[in-house]
Amino acid sequence: MAQVDTTTNAGQLLAAASGGRRRLGDRVFSRTAVVAAVTILLLLAGVAVFLVSEGLPALTAGASELPEGKTFLDYVAPLAFGTALAALIAAVVAVPLAVGVALFITHVAPPRIASTLGYMVDLLAAIPSIVYGLWGIFVLGPAAVPVLKWLEEKLGWIPLFEGPASVTGRTMLVAGLVLAVMIMPIVSAIAREAFGQTPRKLTEGAQALGATRWETIRMTVLPFGRSSVISGAMLGLGRALGETMAVTIILSVSGAVTFNLIGQANPSTIAANIALDFPESSGLAINALIATGLVLFAITLVTNMGARAIIARQNHE
């Protein structure tokens, strides 16, 4: 603390001694930094403000003026349902997988190759969503068709697999699985960081007491990383909620509200609906789409802020 004070004092003395020129340089530079900081905040505020201003006409318009002749709430509700369903499938599949991957890299794989393995997982996050979309519809979808058929035959009594099974694979289940692949690296990266920071005295203590590797993981690593996994899962969920292209390409949409994950009629998602309809829309339909974007923004904002709050509380502890 004292050291910092001396340097600032010395700096001030020197600045005073050499006149205003030096102080002007400092002033200009620090102002520029503040302006950049404020610009970033304004950018974020701008996103909210412009979405509200362009979405508002649709929020206040009557049902007859809006697309499909529905009130805005009736228009957005099925989309919000589809968004939540797809993201939920993704999270349910991705989170356990991500925890497994993170454990493998931090506590099972030989330390020598761990960083390379981590890099490979990160590559999954770098692949553009359009590529995931094409892969989903041309590769995973067709490959999933027999599985969907099997699910319908054997597990058809569960409403999720009611069928009739799609013959193209363009179903909610396949879209959710592709989303899972896309968010897994995000969840895994956060879990990896937390697992890697498990205090050595805990893991080594457990091993010294004769615990097996799994017992060590279960009793020290997992409890230590629990809140990180939760916040990582929420961040992944937020990403899945807003993911556009993969769902746009893969899902065959009908606007139906159904829990049937393997059929041909699927609810669309907010993001996919915007991508599909926006290029061909005009007038109030554009405002309606922007308003649905606002709803999506609000949903992801709440999810992300929840995740950040968990991280912040954990850092505090």
Partner: protein, 287 residues
């Protein structure tokens, strides 16, 4: 004795499951790279990189207009995001105090979670207000992408500035160097490789974005390199359109979509590998 056997069996089972999770997670990566390479190569040709699609009705035509568009849109987005992001990081690390600093840290985190399509809608709403409905410009796409890129740049730049040793700053102060000159001549050069890594990762993240450009830059068949005038194609939207409206020559269009996807993956991987190499050098330099 019996419980011991069970404990070890359980250990083996769970270790196997954990390793299985990793193998399972790698299957999509391997399949993706394999399929995109296999399906993308037939569409790659000299024509793909040199010709546009203007007036093309048959199987020919290329993606030169999309490649030019991707370069221009990404370059303009970087021109917006990199200075703001790095100055923002300098603010956070060198100047920031109190509420503005806390607000910036928090909202940069929030910004990383903005769905890309929402960034696109924001850019559309912004430009529509001034230029009227139905507007499509290359620069609109750049603005949308900069919403996604800025938080990535600022995050990584802040991390790098943090690891620049304090004794370098103190040595500069001791020589009477003003703070701004210390930052420009000492801190930034030391952190340069790390900053470059962050920028490359950020570019890799946005270069393949489709959704925000779908609603802002429009669709066009010929080369346009002016971001302030007229519609602009890019590789990701090109791939989407070739898939979505393949026309009569379906296979040719699909080939082009896969070729564009392969080109995108190649760009992204190249940026990531370069970034990793640069980062390695940065780490040894700082120490």
């Amino acid at each position: 004795m019996e419980t011991d056997w069970r404990r070890h069996a359980k250990n083996r089972l769970m270790t196997g499951l954990i390793a299985g999770a990793f193998v399972l997670a790698m299957i999509p990566l391997v399949s993706l790279v394999y399929e995109v390479t296999k399906r993308g190569i037939p569409g790659l040709s000299l024509e793909f990189f040199t010709a546009d699609a203007r007036g093309v009705v048959g199987e020919g035509g290329g993606a030169a207009h999309a490649i030019v568009g991707t370069l221009v849109i990404t370059a303009v987005a970087s021109l917006i995001s990199v200075p703001i992001g790095i100055m923002g990081a300098i603010y956070l690390n060198e100047y920031g105090t109190g509420r503005l600093r806390r607000a910036l840290t928090f909202f940069v985190d929030v910004m990383t979670g903005i769905p890309s399509i929402v960034a696109g809608l924001f850019a559309y709403a912004l430009f529509e207000l001034f230029l009227g409905p139905g507007i499509r410009l290359g620069v609109m796409g750049s603005v949308a992408l900069s919403v996604l890129m800025t938080p990535i740049v600022i995050r990584s730049a802040e991390e790098v500035l943090k690891i620049v040793p304090n004794h370098l700053r103190e040595a500069a102060y001791a020589l009477g160097t003003p703070k701004w000159k210390t930052i420009v001549k000492v801190v930034l050069p030391t952190a340069f490789a790390g900053l470059l890594t962050g920028v490359m990762i950020a570019i890799a993240r946005i270069v393949g974005e489709t959704a925000p450009l779908l609603v802002t830059t429009g669709v066009v068949d010929s080369i346009n390199s002016d971001p302030f005038n007229g519609r602009m194609q890019n590789l990701a939207v090109y791939a989407y359109n070739e898939y979505r409206s393949p026309g009569v020559f379906k296979q040719a269009a699909y080939d082009k979509a896969w070729a564009a996807a392969l080109t995108l993956i190649a760009i992204v991987m190249l940026l990531n590998i370069l970034a990793r190499l640069v980062y390695r050098r940065c780490k040894t330099e700082i120490r």
